[in-house]
Subunit: 470 residues, 2 copies
């Protein structure tokens, strides 16, 4: 709840244009891309600069008001759902690319910059920002940093964390700090930069970031391999890596996903095969050609029924776009789509895919699986309906088993989507009580009043995936 | 101080063979590679497993005994000098390579493994662990992780942090946790893995680590470029990067360093030039050849007086070894060698080298400069004598100015050596009071009794570089 007094202070800070507590305004920000979670914020604030954010944080401390920093809300862990009310902080006025530094190969941005805009801006200068979450067309870089987003190129190039080298942060006490720099090497104290990457807005508010760039790869090639056997596809993945080839992208789609994607994108994907691998390599021409030739051989040796190279960049881009649309495509089939993020060491992909199939059968559910096979990051996706309470209960049990299996195989409960509210009850499966206690000690140390995105990462109780009342 | 009671408990835990409180035993571990720091520990303990370490930590908490975890003590920030007494914890019995996983491209090691042994073991399988601190022949991987060591290949491949993907840690409360996994993507909660990398043993004790490996580059080429003008050498560095070539190694040595290294290594380095660049590229044959050809052109266009390719791997290795021996070579010239670690964005290398020269002149000191020019990580090295108190005072003032200049140019007070005791008084220059407070909140949260390597990272007072009484 925001008192009239606090309300007036907020308006004095940001101006009345940038403070919205209308019912409509609040409703818009009462949910994010995560199904089953909705809660009304008390107000939506769009600060114009870090000084305003610092003041807002101080007011929130004084009046004990939760702050939920939010980019485009494309996250899938309810990380930006204001489950405890308070203010949603928008970055639409902090959306500048501050600098592209070609000498140091860095780009400095405000958090509200759209990921794809950043990508295009640096590519125009022959530079490359590799992280490419599927939501990159609408996600913001601030959201990517808070969630440590992954993407299709994670296998070869790593994730958002691997490119964040400096941050400007408004801490929970309102102090503004800068971490890191345009530096490949910096060991001055604890690595606050990486601690804040992926901390989901629970430790402070990122107001500027400097990202490492690399030279844009000279060329790129894309192939599509088709399989009548899931295991053969999974074995292909392992064999490529074991042959010491690290492709840029190594994506897996099972038959139901292919069917949905093809119905959605209509680019001529084969809908009669059990699985496809979408494989890309980038780099210098000679190397790409050599790697792709070897990959084609490996696919064939592992019983691919067809291996086809994209004949043009347009065709390749169509394939990539189709893959990125998997969630949207599946979401059309049933009222509720729950996309998960279980991740295993890549050697365990075949076992994990098989386990997901068995668990889906056991609980009589429709689970499609696709994802970043090369880095073991799978997205089992359940097509369901939140109004079917009996089925939703089975969904919950099935995913709990899927997470347990992932952990059992040396994996994790979330590879790139974050914990948020949704995964919080499962976090102990991965970290144990002692691991969670260590994280809590950091949270309490940096945000003693628990105003920074409260209720995220740490579970309040054992409540799991249930329908949240609206 | 260790009471008789605590002493007996320690002996019961590790056995009397692994507990040493003899004067000789303690003296050996009273210092590390950092000049001017020495302090006697109360005992030296060599645990045999993590369970023993957990018990030791619990005893230390109960009896308020400082713990200083130590690998080979090659650090240059007094990070392993037991300045507050207590126990030095050795990892000589935890020195196994646990597993090389060729399917997932990982290696799992105990902390006491020597870095070079690890490197050789994985290279025998065609895999590559890039971090290569100059001390790698004797340093341990545990020490590398605690200090987040860099090295000659940092420019292209990053530092230790970029390869640590999972840790087993004994926390300050004695709990044993596991972070991360054999996973390219893992966002289950805060990034404890990277928080512990570079935390200098102040947050917990690392008992096992899983490191990411990459395929061993197919080939490598090495060239030596000579300059009669420091600025031309520095400009070459910027121009190579601006041409979107990222060499593996781009090392800079000034004339006094070259002279000392040549006297030491006798491999025929030119001692009559103002600076040399040692440049290496690795990767597929075609790419290396193309990059090296372009680098040679760039060197010549920037007035290199000579550019010479190593004619064999032996010759290249001799050059690398010579570069790695710079500290040893310089250390022979005067009783005390203070090697520093100021780091700037690579675009500022020329300004920084010039500033160091001017500061050395101003304070009438002999400062040689060499380092990893490609990533802006310079090692200005002062040849002095701790017994000359007047000169040491000037050394202190000179380095303070060097750090201030580095910060001013967007750099940091330490690129790869860590803070330890030595840099602690300067840390605020980089982070500000608010940044240090944030780090202290983490420290207090995770180690409330301050038993984990106390006195490191955080300065007790404004005492700077002074001779510590023995």
């Amino acid at each position: 709840m925001i008192t009239n007094e606090a309300r007036q202070i907020f308006i004095n800070i940001v101006g009345s244009d940038n403070y919205d507590d209308s019912k409509t305004g609040r409703l818009v920000y009462s949910y994010d891309a995560t199904p089953q979670f909705q809660a009304m914020p008390d107000a939506v604030i769009s600060p114009r600069n870090k000084e305003e954010i610092s003041k807002i944080v101080q007011v929130c401390n004084e009046y004990n008001i939760p702050i939920v920093p939010r980019g485009s809300g494309t996250n899938l862990c309810a990380g930006t759902c204001p489950t405890e009310g308070g203010i949603v902080l928008l970055f639409k006025l902090l959306n500048k690319i501050v600098e592209i530094d070609e000498e140091n190969l860095t780009v400095t941005v405000q958090p509200g910059v759209i990921t794809l805009d950043l990508t295009k801006a640096v590519e125009a200068k022959g530079l490359f920002y590799p992280p490419d979450p599927s939501s990159m067309k609408i996600s913001t870089i601030g959201g990517n940093i808070n969630e440590n987003s992954g993407g299709l190129r994670g296998l070869k190039y790593g994730v958002t964390r691997d490119y964040v080298i400096a941050l400007e942060i408004v801490l929970a006490n309102g102090e503004i700090i800068r971490t890191g720099g345009k530096l490949a090497k910096d060991v001055a104290g604890y690595d606050l930069t990486r601690l804040f990457v992926g901390s989901e807005g629970t430790l402070g508010i990122i107001t500027e970031a400097t990202l490492k760039l690399i030279p844009l790869p000279e060329t790129k090639k894309t192939i599509l391999a088709q399989y009548q056997d899931l295991e053969a596809a999974a074995k292909t993945v392992s064999k490529i890596i074991a042959n010491k080839i690290i492709p840029t992208t190594l994506e897996f789609l099972d038959q139901p996903t292919i069917e949905a994607v093809e119905a959605f994108a209509q680019i001529g994907l084969p809908t009669d095969v059990k699985a496809i691998l979408l494989i890309e390599q980038d780099g210098p021409e000679e190397v790409v050609t050599r790697d792709i030739d070897r990959i084609v051989e490996i696919c064939k040796s592992e019983d691919a029924v067809s291996v086809k190279a994209a004949e043009s960049e347009e065709e390749a881009e169509a394939l990539r776009t189709a893959r990125r649309s998997a969630l949207s495509a599946l979401a059309r089939l049933k009222p509720t789509t729950i996309l998960e993020d279980a991740t295993v060491p890549r050697s365990e992909i075949a076992k994990m895919v098989k386990a997901i199939e068995e668990i889906a059968q056991k609980y009589d559910l429709r689970i499609c699986t696709f994802g970043h096979a090369g880095d073991g990051n799978l997205h089992p996706t359940c097509l369901t309906d939140v109004r079917n309470l009996d089925e939703i209960e089975r969904v919950e049990k099935a995913f709990e088993e899927i997470f347990a299996k992932a952990i059992d195989l040396g994996g994790t409960i979330t590879g790139e989507h974050g914990v948020g509210v949704m995964k919080a009850p499962y976090l102990e499966m991965k970290l144990g009580a002692a691991g969670i206690d260590a994280m809590k000690a950091i949270k309490i140390g940096l945000d003693p009043n628990n105003i920074m995105n409260p209720g995220k990462v740490f579970a309040k109780d054992s409540r799991k995936r249930v329908v949240v009342s609206k």
